[in-house]
Amino acid sequence: MPVFSYLAIPKSGAKETLCTELANLEHCRIMPADNHEVVVVVTDTPDIATEKVLQETLTGLQSLQSLSLTFGFDDN
């Protein structure tokens, strides 16, 4: 069960879009900041395969400017 967290910074003016897109992803929890253009993303996937797919999806999001890893954890 890999668990990761990131700070996601949206492209200018795209915070709402980014939040919607992230919220629609499985294994993904978000916490948008109230007063800054930044979103906390926590992912928790059942296995490595799903994790890989999710990471690809994340980095492929159009509304995303940058994604920085802040925490990682894996049982194995």
Partner: protein
């Protein structure tokens, strides 16, 4: 399984935490919040006072309002009840306004379906049906059933309409299920209702004895005041006298367990010891006490049309002493299971002249088939040693609803009651007729049905129209199945005023949307004779209307404009000032509307601008006139009455077929039937479901572990629910405990509708059940 989930959640939150910490380092001043935000919030919060909506403690709370919405709560530091501290229900109370299934429009039943209609149309129907039923079936075929959550004006207009205008005494309130025995206890012992002491007793007493009363969960603000006192003063003890171990037992210095119903025997044994050791306060007893006995073998009221009238007979002290001879601690040990040494210990605490003793009780003593008796017996103890009506010496009967005292006991919204006195008394009827501007002949001198009998009458068809406000009898009536079937019968017409859908609105023919708590102006009255005003702080949603105004609308449709002339702008003030006339005089004087508006609660009697904290004591109570150190002016002989009341068994006790006691009650998170607290996310998510609490050995014998289903079967019905073992409460062997807040587990289908023959209050704490693994 659970461990995995917790672990994942822990790691997830650690992950989120470190991301947020990183964000905080990159963007100073960044903020997050877990709740949805009020749009366009200016940050200016206006704080307004109100009593809490829940229990009878009557904590003052301040509600924070932004843009017409209640957004926060804090304890009211100006309110002497709680001095700025609330409990979890108070702090989250305002969330109960915002469940998304609020009833905001009226609904009427058309061809079996509930259809939304304008509220005026629904009120037309209510008035028409009421009139039609009354014309066709007589004046006593219509009824109103309210509650201790009615505001004082709600109860007052209900009584005025039904008793004064419609000439029926079919006015009852759920407080019958909750403090009727407290009332008859006060009336028989003192001749006047409500506690002589006040919460300040807690700051003076050395010994607290809780009689069947889990105060730590039910009256937590008062309980923590006791704990604070124990910490601050070294000479304070808390004795928990109970039938099961609870959080109160855990915090108490000593916990003494007794078998259900045997509190009667133990109380008598304490008096026996007080006399045997000559701890009697003779100066007090000779001056201020008289001795009496009443009928015995008085029955349990399980049959329809049960009637009982007690008859008092004066006895001498010697006769009383002889009566107590049966109650030696050793003999009572056999009945009660309480070791004789523990009985002697409690007697010694009451008897020690150096100790100030306060007794607290609530439903354990009131929901009791000998509820009036056990109230009398605890007063006996305090009277024998003269520990009463002085700071710290107090037999204190607590209430469970915010206005059980204010609306039901003071306004008299019970079948025999009037705002002053009782319908049986000619003078009281005249007073009511005069103030209400109705002919005195309108007020029927004969009481009709008490609550259990009222629902029996509904089942039988003697009552065909009932209007239920602010309460949920289809969860709370004992032996529930009979009364639900009765309410559903074809030609019964049920009107329900409420704020959320409940099992009671499910049986309604008309649902009226009510304004909730601070969505209207009103007053509550708490356990210590304190009247507490609250203004309309936020607007009611949709067509929701105060219960008072609903009754006024119907009264006017029935042609009583003269009795209900008020305008929407100031009706609460006008009603209060009219009601206040009933209580003129030093024994019961109420504060004016202006004073109530300005203060965080005012204690009555409020005489010459002063609150009365200890009644019957001339140092504090201006109604005392006999020139002595106490004046028990409620009784004609100016004395408090000690009653010889024997131990009699419960209506139904465990036997070989049904070997367990069933005890029911509450938990701190939920209030009553949970229709409000379950809509408060924090509280629901802490205790989301009902359960049956079992002794670990009983559970092992039955072969159930925590969370497994148990079938509870009584002679009335059965229910399947999850077991809780070694939870916050532990019953003794052969007892189970079930909280009643969860409407998906209707435990009252299992309980028995036996009641105290004097108070007519049912016993929810004792009936016999057997258990099966489900």
């Amino acid at each position: 399984m659970t461990i995995t989930i917790d672990r994942r959640r822990f790691i997830q939150s650690a992950a989120a935490g470190s991301a947020i910490a990183a964000a905080g380092a990159i963007f100073p001043g960044i903020s997050f919040g877990a709740w949805p935000k009020v749009a366009g919030n200016t940050g200016v919060v206006s704080w307004q006072k109100t009593p809490c909506r829940f229990c009878g403690t009557g904590c003052g709370v301040l509600v924070g309002v932004v843009d017409g919405r209640a957004v926060a709560v804090k304890g009211d530091p100006n309110c002497s009840v709680n001095k700025g501290l609330c409990c979890m229900k108070g702090y989250h109370s305002v969330q109960a306004l915002y469940g998304t299934d609020r009833i905001t429009t009226a609904k009427i039943r058309k061809n079996g379906e509930m259809v939304e209609v304008p509220i005026q149309e629904a009120l037309d129907l209510v008035a028409a049906k009421l009139k039609e039923t009354r014309d066709k079936h007589g004046k006593d075929s219509v009824a109103i059933y309210g509650s201790g959550q009615w505001t004082i004006p709600d109860g007052y207009v209900a009584s005025k309409l039904f008793k004064g205008c419609l000439s029926t005494n079919n006015v009852e309130a759920n407080a019958r299920l909750c403090m009727a025995s407290a009332v008859t206890g006060f009336m028989t012992s003192f001749g006047i209702d409500e506690p002589m002491g006040c919460y300040e007793d807690i700051d003076h007493a050395n010994v607290f004895i809780t009689w069947g009363n889990n105060m730590a969960e039910m009256h937590p603000v008062l309980f923590s005041r006791m704990l604070a006192n124990r910490k601050r003063r070294t000479n304070v003890k808390i004795i928990d006298f109970a039938t099961r171990l609870t959080r109160t037992s855990q915090a108490a210095d000593t916990s003494i367990l007794f078998r259900p119903q045997t509190d009667l025997a133990v109380a008598n044994a304490i008096c026996h010891e007080i006399i045997a050791n000559d701890w009697v306060n003779w100066n007090f007893v000779n001056e201020h006490v008289s001795f009496h006995k009443g009928k015995t073998n008085i029955g349990y009221g399980t049959e329809d049309h049960f009637a009982f009238t007690d008859q008092d007979e004066a006895i001498s002290f010697e006769e009383y002493k002889k009566f107590l001879a049966d109650y030696t601690p050793e003999r009572v040990e056999k009945i009660s299971g309480v070791p004789a040494k523990d009985i002697k210990y409690m007697a010694a605490l009451y008897g020690d002249p150096a100790l100030k003793v306060t007794s607290f009780w609530c439903m354990g003593m009131n929901q009791h088939t000998r509820g009036t008796w056990i109230n009398n017996l605890v007063y006996n103890i305090h009277l024998l040693v003269g520990k009463i009506s002085t700071p710290g010496n107090s037999p204190f009967s607590l209430t469970g609803q915010p206005s059980a005292c204010g609306t039901v006991r003071e306004v008299g919204t019970l079948t025999h009651g009037l705002p002053h006195g009782v319908v049986m008394n000619e003078h009281d009827r005249q007073m009511a007729a005069e103030i209400w501007e109705v002919p005195v002949a309108n007020i029927d001198p004969k009481p009709t049905y008490h609550t259990v009998e009222m629902f029996r009458a509904l089942d039988r068809g003697d009552i065909k129209f009932i209007w239920i406000q602010v309460t949920n009898p289809m969860v709370t009536m004992p032996n529930l199945k009979r009364y639900r079937e009765g309410a559903k019968k074809d030609d019964r017409f049920i009107v329900v005023s409420d704020v959320y859908p409940t099992p009671t609105t499910d049986v309604a023919d008309v649902i009226l949307p009510s304004a909730f708590w601070i969505e209207k102006e009103g007053m509550f009255g708490n356990s210590e004779r304190r009247t507490q005003h609250f203004a309309e702080i936020v607007k009611p949603p949709g067509e929701a209307m105060s219960d008072t105004w609903q009754i006024i609308e119907v009264a006017r449709r029935l042609g009583f404009e003269k009795q209900f002339p008020w305008s929407k702008e100031d009706y609460i003030e006008k009603i209060w000032e009219e009601y206040r006339k009933f209580h003129a005089g030093p024994k019961h004087e109420m504060a004016s509307y202006q004073v109530l508006r300005a203060r965080s609660g005012v204690q009555w009697p409020f005489v010459n601008g002063k609150e009365t904290r200890w009644r019957f004591n001339p140092q504090y109570d201006p109604a005392c006139t006999n020139g002595k150190d106490f004046d028990f002016y409620g009784k004609k002989d100016n004395r408090a009455w000690i009653w010889a009341r024997p131990y009699e068994p419960a209506a139904e006790s465990p036997d070989s077929e049904y070997p367990f006691w069933l005890n029911t009650g509450r938990v701190i998170e939920h209030w009553h039937t949970g229709s409000l607290t379950r809509r408060i996310p924090v509280l629901h998510n802490a205790v989301p479901s009902g359960y049956v609490e079992m002794h670990p050995e009983d559970a092992a014998q039955l072969g159930v572990v925590n969370g497994e289903k148990v079938r509870i079967i009584s002679r009335r019905g059965e229910i399947v629910m999850p077991a809780q073992i070694n939870g916050r409460g532990v019953p003794p062997r052969n007892m189970v405990f079930v909280p009643f807040f969860d409407e998906s587990y209707l435990i009252n289908e299992v309980t028995l509708d036996a009641f105290c023959p004097i108070s007519k209050q049912p016993d929810y704490k004792k009936c016999a059940v057997r258990l099966e693994k489900a």
